[in-house]
């Protein structure tokens, strides 16, 4: 129950933060990437704010053996670069620019710009399912090379 409460508070805080930040406006996100046109640097300030708080949070995390409400930190362990990281990030960048949306703002817009947000989210879920499908096919082709997923 404590875990769920913490998660709900964090989720609402994320949603309100996105609303305040201006990042729920696809035109503004697009404006950040449009460096040769009418450049809008707002996204950089959003990243600066978020990263500064999280830098402090990681500092605290390193001194703690476990989180407040669970027994262990569930953190990504992968260190090395691989083609999937580069290829996936490249594809993500293309979609981000085309629609002006990444996953957080798209979901947050479901309650405010329901129709266009729902179209994007459904397409995004389809993309996620297709990726999972290709992963499953690759695994069945090459059963010894089962890659684990990390966030």
């Amino acid at each position: 129950m404590l875990q769920l409460t913490i998660t709900l508070v964090a989720g609402a805080c994320f949603g309100a933060g996105l609303g305040l930040s201006g990042m729920m406006n696809p035109a503004r996100v697009r404006g950040f990437l449009d460096i040769f046109g009418h450049w809008d640097p707002t996204l950089a300030f959003v990243m600066l704010g978020a990263i500064s708080v999280m830098t402090l949070a990681w500092h605290i995390q390193r001194k703690r053996s476990k989180p407040l409400a669970t027994n262990q930190f569930a953190l990504p362990k992968t260190k090395q670069l691989d083609p999937a990281l580069i290829g996936g990030a490249t594809l993500f960048g293309v979609g981000w620019a085309l629609a002006g949306l990444c996953p957080g703002p798209a979901l947050a817009s479901l309650g405010t710009q329901t129709k266009p947000a729902a179209i994007f989210v459904l397409a995004m879920l389809t993309g996620m399912a297709l990726e999972e499908l290709t992963k499953a096919i690759r695994r069945s082709d090459n059963p010894t090379n089962s890659s684990s997923t990390h966030q």
Partner: protein, 147 residues
């Protein structure tokens, strides 16, 4: 480069960023999870088996939608200019979904949580998707005029 910052909202952006960072900090120090939206959504949609319990993933997504809607109601309306044609949304959504799962993270997981952790993978991923986005916009503007 013809830069015009007249439409920027640096203060609102920074304050919103602080809230997003606070949310990610609560997730990390409270329940030990990375606040990466693409991963949490995939978990909630039963597309992956991550270490995050399904109820928490789904609760986070629902609270995110409610939090944004409440903000819109109290302090809005939130300014939002979406692409006029669904083709942009559908193509974009497919690429974002496939790409974020393949690279295991998006703007929140790699951009916010990963960069602040000084994760080399996340720094490379963020530079990659930003460059890719910049090139895409420039290309789209040349060939179609964009939206």
């Amino acid at each position: 480069m013809i830069a015009s910052f007249s439409n920027a909202q640096p203060l609102a952006g920074f304050m919103g960023g602080l809230l997003i960072g606070l949310s990610a900090a609560i997730m990390l120090l409270g329940i030990g999870q990375i606040a990466g939206i693409s991963g949490i959504l995939a978990r909630s949609a039963l597309l992956t088996q991550s270490r995050m319990p399904w109820t928490l993933a789904t609760g986070f997504i629902c609270a995110l939608v409610v939090g944004a809607a409440l903000f819109d109601q109290q302090f809005g309306p939130i300014e939002a200019n979406f692409p006029p044609e669904s083709a942009w949304l559908i193509t974009g959504g497919l690429c974002v979904g496939f790409g974020t799962r393949l690279s295991n993270g998006c703007t929140s997981g790699h951009g916010v949580c990963g960069i602040s952790r000084l994760s080399f993978r996340s720094i490379v991923a963020t530079i990659t998707f930003m460059l890719s986005g910049i090139i895409t916009i420039a290309t789209v503007n040349i060939f179609t005029g964009g939206w």
